[in-house]
């Protein structure tokens, strides 16, 4: 049984005269794994910003689990179960790694969490992503990889039903990419729909059930990964003529 | 009690005053409008400029405006040094919002108190040929001590505007706020550009200070009255727009003048801040600001 977890229709976003997104439509079923690819500047991050609420779209609607969230502020969407990571990690620098996880547990996941066990749950999550030994370290002093993991963990701590991962693997080594991939797959096995924005094609192909291609603010392809990447216009968009 | 006489005089006085306000504000329009540096101490620097003009004027008999122009390069250097400290302590570490503000807040007090300790709280004036004379046009009186600052202020604003839009350094300053990376790719060091810009901003304070003491007597706490005005003008005009700033300055001058004439001068301080709060609440991008 697959209900739509995300339904985006006619999404348009302009910055002054520049059209960042033009009439974008997106459908995501519950528990689906979607890869979102496209050249730099094609509007992928803008799309997530609109879905998560960080930006307000000019036209179009966004529905999450059948509910219209187009006008909701970001924190309400987070509480409903929409989570996203940031391309450049934005940890709460003055707080420890553990406290970084407590915030989403205490806010976004408040209705879904057991209030007496927040710290324990946070520790368990740290265990799962391999950061438990850093629980009490200041989050500002982590390594790049660990910061990416923390960024992901924070999104997971919000107990989402939709997670958008924005280039979590950029610049990571092959084994690090596999680590992140495993975390995302494990999450998906628990029923969370995931949109993965990546340039690391190996990860996209391995992970995605479906791939959407965004070029210059327009969706130009949407379908099975193998056939999408073989499409002429997709190849053209990435490699030029 | 309304009379056309009073009304016309208030408008004219307001315009002249507004023009002068532009001179005081232009430094903040650069620092805050272009560089996002909340230099709340800018009016304090203006007062320092006033005192320098006063010293030079009483000691050597030099015209205050000239004194201001002579002091400008010195102020430029001071501004550059202060920016360096500000950059090293705050911008580089990303602390500018809280700590940067408090930094300039502290500076403001230091400057004011040093002036009190050095010169006392007596009002200081300058003497120049045009202070005291008035041109009479019909029932409207135009005091020269307002007209001269208005003229200099207009020239100053025009000069800065042309500089920013026509020269390489000027355009680099405009660019640094919008796109640091592009600026670097163009071969300009963003930090040096910002340093130059901030130096320029403080240099204008020297000139503005000399104009201030022409308009009226000055004592160390006078700067505080201008904090509200300069921020109100920058916000009302719109961040990043020099022409907008000038128009906003004129608007504020006129509104203040009308309020002082018809409601009494004790209400004047609230005008600037009232304008500021209204702008922030209704149209935060100002009249001409970038969105």
């Amino acid at each position: 049984m697959n209900g739509a977890v995300l339904q985006v229709a006619g999404l348009t976003k302009r910055f002054g005269g520049f059209v960042a997104l033009q009439d974008v439509a997106l459908h995501l079923s519950a528990g689906e794994r979607l890869g979102l690819i496209g050249p730099n500047g094609s509007g992928k991050t803008t799309l997530i910003n609109c879905i998560s609420g960080a930006l307000a779209n000019d036209e179009g609607t966004i529905e999450f689990e059948g509910r219209d969230i187009t006008r909701l502020p970001p924190y309400r969407r987070a509480r409903l179960g929409v989570a996203r990571t940031f391309q450049i990690p934005k940890p709460f620098r003055s707080m420890s790694v553990l406290d970084n996880l407590r915030v989403p547990l205490e806010y976004a996941a408040w209705s879904r969490a057991e209030h007496g066990r927040i710290t324990d749950e946070a520790m368990e999550m740290l265990e799962h992503i391999g950061l438990r030994h850093r629980a009490h370290v200041s989050s500002g002093s982590l390594t790049q990889v660990d910061m990416r993991k923390l960024e992901l963990a924070r999104a997971l701590a919000a107990k989402p039903r939709l997670l958008v991962s924005d280039e979590a693997m950029a610049g990571l080594s092959s084994s690090e990419v596999d680590e992140i991939l495993e975390i995302l797959l494990a999450l998906n096995r628990r029923g969370v729909a995931v949109i993965m924005i990546e340039h690391v094609m190996r990860a996209v192909m391995k992970f995605s059930e479906r791939v959407v291609v965004l070029v210059a603010g327009c969706k130009i392809a949407d379908g099975d990964p193998q056939s999408v990447v073989a499409q002429a216009d997709v190849i053209k968009a990435y490699l030029g003529e | 009690m309304f009379s056309l006489d009073l009304f016309a005089n208030a408008i004219v006085a307001g315009l002249l005053l507004g023009g002068f306000y532009a001179a005081v504000t232009i430094g903040l329009a650069i620092a805050f409008g272009q560089l996002d540096i909340v230099n709340i101490a800018h009016p304090a620097f203006v007062i320092v400029g006033s005192y320098i003009a006063w010293i030079v004027n009483t000691r050597f008999g030099i015209d205050p405006v000239l004194a201001g122009l002579l002091a400008a390069p010195l102020f430029f250097l001071v501004g550059s040094v202060i920016y360096r400290i500000y950059y090293a302590a705050f911008e580089r570490t990303g602390q500018e919002s809280l700590s940067g503000l408090a930094f300039f807040f502290g500076m403001m007090f230091i400057i004011e108190v040093v002036l009190i300790l050095a010169f006392g709280v007596d009002y200081r004036l300058v003497s120049a040929g045009y202070v005291g004379a008035t041109i009479q046009i019909g029932f409207v009186g135009i005091p020269l001590r307002m007209l001269v600052p208005f003229g200099v202020a207009t020239l100053l604003t025009l000069g800065v505007y042309l500089y920013l839009s026509r020269t390489f350094m000027g355009r680099a300053i405009l660019a640094v706020a919008q796109d640091r990376l592009a600026l670097q790719l163009m071969g300009a060091d963003p930090v040096r550009v910002k340093q130059f810009a901030f130096g320029l901003a403080i240099a204008t304070a020297a000139v503005a200070g000399s104009l201030l003491i022409i308009i009226g007597p000055v004592e160390p706490s006078v700067g505080r009255q201008y904090i509200g005005r300069v921020f109100a003008i920058v916000v009302l005009g719109g961040m990043g727009s020099i022409p907008g700033m000038f128009i906003a300055a004129l608007v504020l001058g006129v509104v203040e003048s009308l309020v002082a004439s018809f409601m009494g001068p004790s209400w004047a301080p609230a005008v600037a801040f009232g304008v500021l709060l209204l702008t922030l609440a209704l149209r935060p991008s100002g009249l001409f600001g970038r969105a």
Binding site: P73 | I40, I110, F273
Partner: protein, 314 residues
């Protein structure tokens, strides 16, 4: 049942205060400590919005003065007793905090800071023009006769202030390590990320400004009875404003102890200087300390202590 060291200290402080009132005869000491306690409340209050949430309030003098003038107005109109005046001062300033916050907190932090300064000046102008409370000329407040079991009114005021200060510090401490406090810290560290983590940023910021306003109003409410003559110049005075910002920044803004340390240290120093030198010098020194600390030790004294301790652990 384990009692935390904090409450033991609180009990000790209150006991010491009571002892003080029984033993000390020279009124000067009560005057001096009253000023320091007032500064402590203001510093703790400022820090809730400034240090915990990351939004700078420059209009502290406004909140303080409104608390004082609410006292004067209500005392004149209905002769209310001190506790009622304190409550009223806190309530009025809480509403103002809420109002100013609602108008400007949706914009960048910088605009909020300027707007708070604006609010202070607007209120000063209003008070200047309001003759009921004395306008620009000021108002005289007679010292009430009743001072409970204390030897003098100032001793009672001192005790009142001590209790208020303790209460504010306790609230600040509870906030620091609570769910609400973590939400505020998230806003301070990264407002966008906080919002995406489910933190209702506007609501929390408004709670923060309201609480800050209430505490500052409470600090200002007894002021007329302390000085017996209040005029806008003294009530809205800049010194109170600088101190409210300098003390937490010097002490350390992210921890509840910071403003307390800052207030005690700087406040005591200022008392010594005022008596022995001049009050202008006070402002100069506070200003210099503020700038030096911000530039070299942005985490304040608390931060320095932390660094020292973590270095020793290596």
């Amino acid at each position: 049942m384990k009692i935390s060291p904090f409450w033991v200290c609180v009990a000790a402080v209150i006991a010491t205060g009571l002892l003080f009132t029984g033993v000390a005869k020279n009124e000067y000491y009560f005057n001096a400590t009253y000023v320091i306690l007032q500064a402590t409340i203001m510093a703790v209050a400022w820090n809730i919005l400034g240090g915990f949430t990351g939004y700078v309030n420059f209009g502290t003098a406004g909140f303080f003065a409104v608390g004082a003038y609410t006292s004067i107005a209500l005392s004149k109109a209905w002769g209310l007793p001190l506790p009622a005046l304190i409550f009223a001062g806190g309530a009025v300033c809480a509403l103002i905090g809420l109002g100013v916050g609602y108008l400007t907190l949706r914009l960048k932090g910088v605009y909020f800071a300027i707007a708070t300064l604006a609010m202070a000046i607007v209120f000063e102008t209003l008070v200047n023009n309001w003759s009921y409370v004395g306008g620009a000329k000021g108002a005289y407040i007679l010292t009430p006769d009743k001072h409970l079991w204390f030897d003098s009114y100032i001793e009672m005021l001192f005790m009142v202030m001590l209790l208020l200060a303790v209460a504010c510090v306790a609230i600040s401490r509870a906030l620091n390590s609570s769910r609400l406090g973590r939400g505020l810290a998230a806003i301070r560290d990264d407002e966008v990320a906080a919002e995406c983590a489910g933190v209702p940023t506007l609501r929390l910021k408004l709670i923060s400004t309201t609480l800050m306003g209430a505490m500052m109003g409470v600090a200002g409410a007894p002021y007329p009875f302390f000085v017996t003559f209040v005029d806008p110049q003294s009530a809205f005075n800049l010194f109170v404003a600088v101190n409210a910002i300098a003390m937490p920044m010097i002490g350390g803004t992210s921890h509840w102890l910071g403003p307390v340390i800052g207030a005690l240290l700087v406040g005591t120093m200022q008392e010594i200087i005022t008596v022995n030198v001049s009050s202008e010098l006070n402002v100069l020194i506070v200003g210099i300390m503020l700038v030096v600390f911000i530039t070299l030790a942005p985490q304040g004294i608390v931060g320095l202590v932390r660094k020292y301790r973590s270095r020793r652990e290596r």
